[in-house]
């Protein structure tokens, strides 16, 4: 019997396990499907990790190493090369591996930290033929950084998500020619610093409001056709340009990987595509917590670590029965005007110490704006923000004071131009 089983040994799982341990949880197991801990950080060999969390600039593997090193001084157990096939409401965990076969493990609490996967060509309905040479940026990153293989010589990137931008630079450094980065929206989906450091610094053109309208090639990709789109995102006839290339990397979004969560019946959020969670990252099933990219897609691992520490602490408290929180009243946080998602979605006042950090994304670009916490149209708090974009996750504090002020069941978060 374990106190806590953490599903996934990437940044989220590591931080959650360590935090649970620090908060008094004793028998902890991390189940990781890969051959080593660290998750996707292992293939992120560029730097820029840890600026917020460690106040220094680390590479992905270095960032992971900080956590893995801490594990060594704990009694936290790790099972590598092991998949979790199923979890149950009463916290049974079905695992499978070469070494141990099929096992049923019992735990008191579970933290879900499975991460996310990439959206594929099938999800974006791209016309054209289907030759080799079209792959997701993350798969390409694995081939190049982990396996040591090149995936192409003349490269086009579709989508300006961070992995695509990072891979644009990586491919150039490996001697490939990167001809274009094509983005459907009128703004980039990635971090500004990545646009500057990965595209601008390497003279790679970024085509905003463009899409791919055709792909040719029988066995290997030969060319793509790019066209400008109108404000309804439909290609504008006459703007087509053919780009000869042998490789197309897709960076068109990430989706939390929630098969286990869905199968056990956890309530999901349509917007984040992750679980609905309370203020302490607990899901609709008490004793099951979620954190990291399985909950919502983050831009920075630093935030994953912070969020996962919360989840780990809450799991430890749950195991020690310090708070039986399931039955308490909660209030709901709603996405108002300008907000594409906000998290946590539900808050149990009694559980809030001083404040809850609300993480949100806006659904359009704002230069200067007011993010406001409202109750039935009445503004309870407001925050001035600059340069908000859908590609960057933002945060505002929701203070205990405010929660205590009135008897409220719902709050709306609204953005307006300042």
């Amino acid at each position: 019997m374990y106190d806590l089983i953490v599903v996934g040994g990437g940044p989220a799982g590591l931080a959650a396990a360590l935090s649970a341990y620090e908060n008094g949880c004793e028998k902890i197991l991390i189940v990781e499907r890969d051959l080593e801990l660290g998750g996707i950080l292992n293939q992120c060999i560029h730097n820029g990790f840890g600026l917020h969390y460690f106040k220094e600039e680390l590479t992905g593997p270095e960032y992971a190493e900080r956590f893995i090193d801490q594990l060594k001084n704990t009694s936290i157990e790790v099972m590598l090369d092991t998949i979790v096939l199923e979890i149950t409401e009463d916290k049974q965990v079905h695992t499978m591996s070469k070494e141990n076969g099929y096992q049923l493990l019992q735990s008191k609490a579970i933290v879900l930290a499975m991460g996310c996967r990439e959206r594929t060509r099938g999800a974006i309905q791209m016309p054209g033929s289907r030759p080799a040479g079209i792959l997701t940026a993350g798969a390409a990153q694995r081939y190049v950084n982990i396996e040591g293989y090149m995936v192409g010589k003349k490269v086009v990137i579709l989508g300006s998500g961070d992995i695509g931008l990072i891979m644009a630079r990586r491919m150039v450094l490996e001697g490939a020619e990167v001809l274009a980065c094509i983005e459907l929206m009128p703004y980039s989906g990635g971090l500004t610093r990545n646009i500057v450091q990965c595209l601008d610094d390497f003279n790679i053109p970024l085509y905003l409001s463009h899409t791919i309208t055709d792909v040719t090639g029988k066995d290997r990709l030969e060319s793509i056709t790019m066209a400008k789109v109108d404000d309804k995102r439909k290609p504008i006839p006459g703007t087509e340009q053919v780009i000869d290339c042998d490789t197309l990397l897709l960076s068109v979004g990430l989706i939390p990987e929630n098969e286990l969560s869905r199968n056990v019946g956890i309530q999901m959020d349509q917007q984040t595509r992750g679980a609905m969670v309370y203020e302490n990252m607990e899901t609709s099933i008490s004793g099951i917590f979620a954190c990291g990219n399985v909950l919502h897609v983050h831009d920075l691992v630093d935030y994953v670590s912070a969020e996962s520490s919360l989840a780990g602490k809450a799991a430890a408290e749950y195991v020690q029965q310090q708070n039986n929180i399931a039955e308490k009243d909660f209030l709901t946080i709603n996405n108002g005007q300008g907000i594409s998602y906000i998290l946590p979605q539900k808050i149990r006042k009694e559980n809030v110490d001083k404040k809850v950090d609300l993480y949100y994304r806006v659904n359009q670009v704002y230069d200067t704006c007011i993010v406001s916490i409202q109750h039935q149209g009445e503004e309870l708090a407001k925050f001035k923000r600059k340069n908000l974009a859908p590609g960057e996750m933002e945060t505002i504090p929701l203070r205990k004071k405010l929660l205590d002020k009135v008897d409220i069941k719902e709050l709306d978060i609204v953005v307006r131009e300042a």
Binding site: R33, L85, R121, G138, E147, G148, Y149, D219, D246
Partner: protein, 481 residues
């Protein structure tokens, strides 16, 4: 010297190979590509039609109804996924209802069992997500869905176990008539045979022309599809057809044997020059738009944004109304123009051809032993105890490679060792469904490449995505270099 060479290893070539493998004959299948079922067989609606569609008294009607029954037996015997989920043809108007009545009568005369005309209420009770404005439906409980490439693979493997040779990457370039045999010349060699069966699908006319002036004209017709995520699996429970009108056969929505939802196809004749350029099986925004529009007529709420893959296939249409199954010259037979319901009819087509050849004098002496069964390891369907046992015997089954579909290393290695083994990533995908799920190989692709390289004893840079030469990797990185 072979007794018979079959050109093409699609569902027709493999069906014929299976049927002829029962007899004491020396047979070889020559396939232009690197696997079975890589042409029309792998990209179609995957439906075993009940048989109310073809005109009563036609060859197609006879072969469809017979084929439907044979396919059921074969799938059970040879371990091929098949689900008899029944089909509904939906009427959207009063005129459509009279078309359905005609189809019902035709079906009865064709010998289709258990057909039923349903009211709108009855239909909506069976399929709550259908357009509520429908007028009724024709229900055919004998219609089924099948895994088409596994069907061809099963027939091919059974043929091979019973002595039929398969040669891949052998595109036929010429056929020379000698005194009493043919020399079939491919990219790689020349093969002597007494008889030839042309089952070259979309290329059947080209093969025909190597020995005789054309008797039919190929009119390749593209159909485009969406494949939806397992999450959308509840969209419909039956094969949903639209009532055929002058405008065409409409767009179908159907569960697949694996629980995804398939949506399509439109119909667009394409230039024959496009065949084998990659552009032939490309998707187009117009085609996908047509499919989407048609699908929303049947199920207005269908969630096409949860698509995991688009693809398209080519119907081997000809200028003839019926299948072309006939002798061209002595000892040379065509099976051409096999469009819908060709997948269903395939086993019956094979028998029909064998009868035809026997009439022409082919001596059919049954083999003393004919192995008429095939089983695969179904790790995913096994109980926990069975899984524990399988992993104990072969630990490779304990490691999941494809996370979306829970396909293990054991499954993948098996697909590279089986009777007709995979030789590419897509070959593995067709045999195991690794990479067919929602991440479309994003996670497992690199791992599958590694396993293929290991099993075939080649470098990862030599591993193909699909057809021969469709390399995934272009070299090694600087650091490795």
């Amino acid at each position: 010297m072979y007794d018979i060479i079959i050109i093409g290893a699609g569902i027709i070539g493999t069906s014929v190979a299976y049927e002829l493998a029962k007899y004491q004959l020396n047979i070889c299948v020559l396939e232009a590509e690197n696997d079975v079922s890589v042409g029309t067989t792998k990209a179609n609606s995957a439906i075993l039609h009940a048989g109310y569609d073809p005109k009563t008294g036609s060859l197609n009607a006879k072969l469809n109804v017979e084929g439907s029954i044979l396919a059921k037996e074969l799938c059970e015997k040879l371990d091929v996924p098949r689900k008899q989920i029944g089909s509904l043809v939906i009427a959207f108007s009063k005129e459509d209802l009279s078309t359905l009545e005609a189809l019902y009568e035709r079906g009865k005369q064709n010998g289709v069992a258990d057909l039923q005309l349903l009211t709108a209420e009855e239909t909506l009770e069976m399929e709550p997500h259908l357009n509520s404005e429908i007028f009724g439906a024709l229900y055919a409980p004998t219609a089924a869905v099948v895994n088409p490439w596994e069907f061809a693979l099963a027939l091919g493997e059974t043929a091979k176990i019973n002595g039929v040779e398969f040669k891949f990457n052998q595109r036929v370039l010429d056929i020379q008539e000698e005194n009493d045999f043919f020399s079939v010349i491919t990219e790689k060699g020349s093969f002597k045979t007494k008889q030839v069966i042309n089952a070259a699908g979309i290329h059947a006319e080209e093969i025909h022309r190597l020995v005789a002036p054309p008797t039919f004209k190929t009119i390749p017709c593209r159909g485009e599809y969406y494949l939806l995520d397992l999450e959308e699996g509840e969209t419909v429970n039956h094969v949903i057809f639209q009532c055929p009108t002058k405008a065409g056969k409409g767009i179908l929505i159907s569960p697949t044997t694996h629980g995804n939802i398939i949506v399509g196809p439109n119909a667009e004749n394409i230039a024959p020059e496009l065949i084998n350029t990659g552009a032939d099986i490309a998707n187009t925004s117009m085609g996908l738009e047509q499919v989407a529009k048609g699908a929303r007529l049947s199920v207005p709420t269908i969630n096409l944004s949860n698509s995991i893959r688009n693809f398209s296939g080519i119907r081997a249409n000809t200028d003839r109304e019926e299948f072309v199954i006939e002798k061209v010259i002595d000892d040379f037979y065509d099976i051409a123009g096999i469009n819908s319901p060709g997948l269903t009819a395939a086993p019956a087509i094979a028998r029909y051809l064998v009868d035809l050849m026997a009439e022409d004098g082919l001596v059919l002496t049954e083999k003393e032993t004919f192995i008429d069964e095939r089983t695969r390891v179904h790790f995913n369907d096994a109980s926990i105890e069975e899984k524990q046992k399988i992993i104990k015997e072969n630990p490779d089954y304990g490691r999941i490679i494809c996370r979306c579909e829970n396909i293990t290393e054991g499954d993948i290695r098996q697909s590279l060792r089986q009777t007709l083994p995979a030789s590419s990533v897509d070959g593995v995908k067709r045999r195991t469904i690794a990479g067919m799920g929602r991440c479309q190989g994003g996670f497992c692709g690199p791992r599958v490449v590694e396993i293929i390289a290991d099993e075939l004893n080649i470098a990862p840079t030599e591993v193909d995505l699909d057809k021969l030469g469709s390399r995934i990797l272009t070299g090694i990185t600087k650091e490795v270099n």
